[in-house]
Amino acid sequence: MDYRQLSDQDVVERARRGREGAYRELIRRYERPVFSLIYRLVRDRERAEDLSQETFIKVLNAIDRYDPSFKFSSWIFKIAHNTALDDLRRKHPETLSIHGSPHASTADELEATTLTPVSDDESPEDFTSSREIGGHIEEAIGTLRAEYRTAILLCHVEGRPYEEVAQIMDVPLGTVKTYIHRARNELKKQLAHLRC
């Protein structure tokens, strides 16, 4: 059965009926957005993998308790956000670098901790140039408070409306607007040197 044509709600409905293909379709749809969000929050690839896996296991094992009157994406992002925040509270975050972890001692470790975006149709020149700009913006995002980071990533990278971001983060709409405004201002200041 081709699940790609179905809406999230329909796929969830089939998952509840015990179709393994529906579970895999939900993973396929959300593995990258969820992993990207968590990766940018915890700034460690291995931890991001573990936390993303934990998020999906929580979500899929609790699929029969999902309330279909809410968007599935809101639910999964909410659990991803909470999982990452819990982990951040427990551990100290590492500094993000697009060129790999500063603590990497071998080439393999450096490779493993390097941010590798999914690039579909970029030329090597474009990739290098965007990688430089991307490096600055990633570093700037890395300095933001975790709440600001989640808000700005959900709003700009995932394209979620303010209302949904508020639902995901479990804060009032006004707070989300404040988070996003402050995050943008900080980013604008940090990236000002790139425009000169």
Partner: protein, 210 residues
């Protein structure tokens, strides 16, 4: 007078109302400083929306699925239950078919013999069978009912209900009926939960509120 930074930001992210948008657009025509501000916001938004998506390592779905308990659909559970009664060897199948064939052949032969009589039609046979069945069922039911009513327990129960009604009236009887209804509902729920509903897993996993 220049619009505030917040208004310029709202203008760029499209959250400004139509009238507010027109005011800003008019202002931008004549103000280079605000045009510069708007450009800064727009370039930030462009950079943010162009942020790459990261992918987890290959085999992520398999690693997740190794920890996910997929509920079995009803037909899989039913086939598991019935599967226990199915023979596992060829000899077992042959025996089962032979056993099943005996009553089928017997009933088939009898039906063929009956229907081949000229005075017996399918309709007459049907009417005869249903009449016999109804009479038999009626006899069994009434016999069982009268037997139950004549037991000591039943007599005691009827007497108790009558005396209870005399002492407490219809309200008391209603209360008893309500308690009994609750007990029945709870029993149905317990049966449903234990026999049909697949078990809830990892109830401590997620707590979320919308």
């Amino acid at each position: 007078m220049h619009p505030t930074d917040e208004r310029l930001e709202a203008f760029c992210d499209g959250s400004l109302g139509k009238s507010g948008k027109t005011v800003i657009e008019t202002h931008l025509v004549q103000c280079g400083r605000c045009r510069g501000e708007v450009e800064e916001w727009r370039s930030l938004f462009t950079v943010l929306s162009a942020l790459p998506v990261f992918a987890p390592a290959a085999g992520f779905a398999d690693r997740v699925m190794a920890h996910v308990r997929v509920p079995e659909p009803w037909y899989a559970r039913a086939s598991q239950v019935f599967g226990r009664f199915l023979p596992r060897t060829t000899l077992g199948w042959a025996m089962a078919v032979a056993l099943l064939a005996v009553p089928v052949l017997a009933v088939g032969t009898l039906a063929f013999w009956l229907l081949s009589r000229s005075y017996l039609t399918g309709y007459r046979l049907w009417v005869f069978a249903t009449d016999q069945f109804a009479a038999g069922a009626n006899q069994v039911a009434s016999g069982a009912f009268s037997r139950v009513l004549s037991t000591d327990v039943s007599v005691w129960l009827v007497r108790s209900i009558t005396s209870f009604m005399e002492s407490s009236g219809l309200r008391g009887l209603g209360a008893v009926a309500a308690v009994l209804a609750c007990v029945i509902l709870v029993s149905i729920w317990v049966l449903y939960k234990n026999l049909f509903r697949h078990p809830n897993r990892g109830s401590s996993y997620v707590s979320f509120t919308f």
